[in-house]
């Protein structure tokens, strides 16, 4: 059987077993009643001990949401979601207020351990410190915020970060402790009226991370949030807000997993980034939500709005994403290049297998003078999946000297999948320079045979070729996560080549 044919055959046999994170954690939870109403919005706000302004903000969003309709322009196909058939709030039953890791339900800690995410600072500190000049990047400290269903269960290294002046905490806490910052920035990048899912999120978001890096501070460690959906029929609506003040730098990573369920679960997050003058934010995502089983049953609906505002001059925002999970992905991390000489980057690897549908890309909106943006997108489609890149590059009338470079490459494995590239390019002034390159290729039988003739198994051969294909993007990930992402890519294609 020709190698590619064999690959296709194996894709057909992909099993849910391939998803390593599909276990469920049995813990007591507290849920809001099913469905969505003003009462539920009030319930969530009350659960979080929120001030009145926050509730007001949510209610306005909710009322607006009632007037909106779901977008249908994306190249994804799914049955209509019954928004009244979901739980909008689920929290592990608290044992009073949690002040240290010891008070967290051990089951939750075990969950994160299984996922390979260390929440215990002690364990990390016990590692041998690298000798001076022998910096071992894999041992660098990483502050983690863990979000389990609707609440943040633990944030590590808070004290150490505080010393540097960096605020890293669940957004629910930030609303109470730093209301001036939250009020100033929340919704300033993604307004409550932005789009159907963002508006829904504004009404019912439960938790997420909040980061503030003060002027001139280089955040001393990587910040990271791990999201885990556990409860059945629960939507997860997290909200992340990151502010890099003048001349500061922060690198942030999020990871996501969920149990295997027959029904689809909704995930509608909003991420807002604000970079002031000379500030830089690097935001990396390793998205591995449950993709559904071999018949296309179950899996996460991932409808996410991510946007960064390069508000200050010479500011820089860089998105890097490795997308391997979710039944449906609808996601366009974008940059508003408002400040003069600001720059935005989008590096993406989107892998779809089985029946996954991906419609993802970016928007680079050039408003300031001499702004530049760079888009490198690598789509890999296997099985019966559909993989679409959708990107907008636009230069405003006053955005003189805007520059963009876009390269979209798609790789097809087998002949039952599809790759699509939908670029939108608008230049409203004549000094803009936009370049767009796109390629689509099939993983060739000759390349596979060459590798196999040199001793690689078929699976190793596909892994090698795919890793070569995505190399430009993998290099953009923080070192600690590049290895993880590389493994993830192999795992998510494991089903496709046996």
């Amino acid at each position: 059987m020709p190698a590619v044919q064999e690959t296709v055959e194996r894709v057909k046999r992909i099993d849910v077993d391939q998803y390593r994170y599909g276990f469920e954690t049995l813990i007591d939870t507290e849920k809001a009643p099913k469905g969505l109403s003003e009462e539920i919005v009030k319930f969530i706000s009350q659960k979080k001990n929120e001030p009145a302004w926050m509730l007001q903000w949510r209610l306005e969003a909710y009322r607006r949401w009632l007037t909106m309709v779901e977008p249908t322009w994306a190249r994804v196909d799914y049955p209509k979601i019954d928004f009244q058939d979901l739980y909008y709030y689920a929290a592990p039953k608290p044992k009073k207020t949690v002040t240290s890791l010891d008070e967290i339900d051990p089951e939750i800690l075990k969950t994160y351990e299984k996922l390979g995410i260390p929440l215990r600072e002690v364990a990390m500190l016990e590692g041998v410190e690298p000798k001076p000049g022998e910096e071992d990047p894999a041992r660098r400290k990483i502050a983690v915020d863990a979000v389990f269903d609707s609440v943040s269960v633990a944030t590590t290294f808070k004290a150490e970060l505080k010393k540097a002046g960096v605020i890293f905490m669940p957004i629910s806490e930030a609303i109470r402790e730093h209301p001036e910052l939250v009020q100033k920035y929340l919704g300033s990048v993604v307004p409550t009226s932005d789009n159907f899912y963002a508006t829904l999120n504004s009404a019912v978001f439960s938790d997420g991370s909040f980061v503030y890096v003060p002027p001139g501070v280089r955040c001393p460690m990587e910040l990271s949030t791990y999201f885990r959906i556990n409860e059945r029929n629960t939507g997860q609506f997290e909200r992340t807000l990151i502010i890099a003040d003048k001349g500061s730098y922060v690198s942030y990573l999020e990871g996501c997993t969920a149990p295997q369920r027959d029904e689809n679960q909704l995930h509608a997050a909003v991420v807002e980034l604000v970079a002031h003058d000379d500030a830089e934010i690097k935001y990396s995502t390793v998205q591995n939500w449950y993709p559904g089983n071999s018949e296309g049953k179950g899996g996460i609906y991932n409808f996410v709005t991510k946007r960064g505002d390069c508000r200050g001059d010479r500011s820089k925002i860089s998105w890097t994403q490795v997308e391997t999970g979710s039944a449906i992905t609808w996601k366009y991390p974008s940059c508003i290049l408002r400040g003069d000489n600001s720059s935005g980057e989008f590096y993406s690897i989107a892998i779809s297998n089985g029946f996954q549908q991906v419609d993802s890309g970016t928007k680079m909106i050039h408003l300031g003078k001499n702004t530049s943006s760079r888009i490198i997108s690598k789509g890999i489609a296997a099985g019966k999946s559909q993989n679409t890149y959708r990107g907008l590059v636009t230069a405003h009338r006053k955005a003189t000297g805007a520059r963009n470079f876009t390269a979209c490459d798609s790789l097809l494995i087998g002949d039952k999948c599809g790759a699509h590239t939908v670029p939108y390019i608008e230049a409203k002034n004549s000094s803009a320079t936009f370049e767009h390159e796109a390629t689509t290729s099939k993983i060739s039988e000759d390349v596979l045979f060459y590798c196999i003739q040199r001793g690689l198994s078929q699976e190793e051969a596909v892994g090698l070729v795919v890793n070569g294909f995505v190399k430009d993007v993998l290099q953009q990930l923080p070192m600690e996560f590049a290895v993880e992402a590389q493994k993830l890519i192999s795992i998510s294609l494991e089903g496709s080549v046996g």
Binding site: P2, E6, V447, Y450, C451, G455, L456, S457, G468, K471
Partner: protein, 250 residues
Amino acid sequence: MALLEVKDLKVRVEEREILHGLTLTVNEGEIHAIMGPNGSGKSTLSHVIAGKPGYEVTDGQILFRGEDLLEMSPDMRAAKGVFLAFQYPVEIPGVATMNFLRTALNAQRKARGEDEYSTPDFLKKVREVSKSLNIPQDMLKRGVNVGFSGGEKKRNEVLQMALFEPSLCILDEMDSGLDIDALRIAADGVNALHSPKRAMVVITHYQRLLNYIVPDVVHVMSKGRVVKSGGKELALELEASGYAQFEDAA
């Protein structure tokens, strides 16, 4: 025991028989040349020995040190010591040659139940081998064959041959696309690898290559069979009178 025994091999591609009962025996240390016109089945033979998908063996046998080669997966054949130097080596963008070499070498060692090379040991070995073949280190950092000239691609094949230390090397039209200097360099590399333990099967249209790699035995293929075998003088005879005389014999 012969290193390679091909016995009465019949091969089809999409319902069409290409090899109609081919027999060939190669012993350790021998250099065999297989010559023949286009479409005589030379490349098919090399592909079937290496295990390329898409060919159906309908009859006959291929034994490698007495073991049934057709029962082995292509990667296992590689691990056992079968190496095919491709006529057109493929490009693998984004995969550094060094990384490719290490992955392949360790995969072969693992399949044979040997320890994988550690990074320093591997680097030492690659440096040694590439130095002996005059291959610049810079070539190893580039993507596999990406942007390589025809000559560089063939040298990369020779480098792999030297590194993997196969016992049977099949060179499929190594001379195609090479100018005379590049041909000489590649051939020198091959000659350096010739040893009493290693056999070479050189597939070529032209006698030219055989000025550099001198064969012990020359086989003439026509219409899917070996129609004549002889010493190296047979190649010269062919050069003078062409293949036409064998067309009828087939």
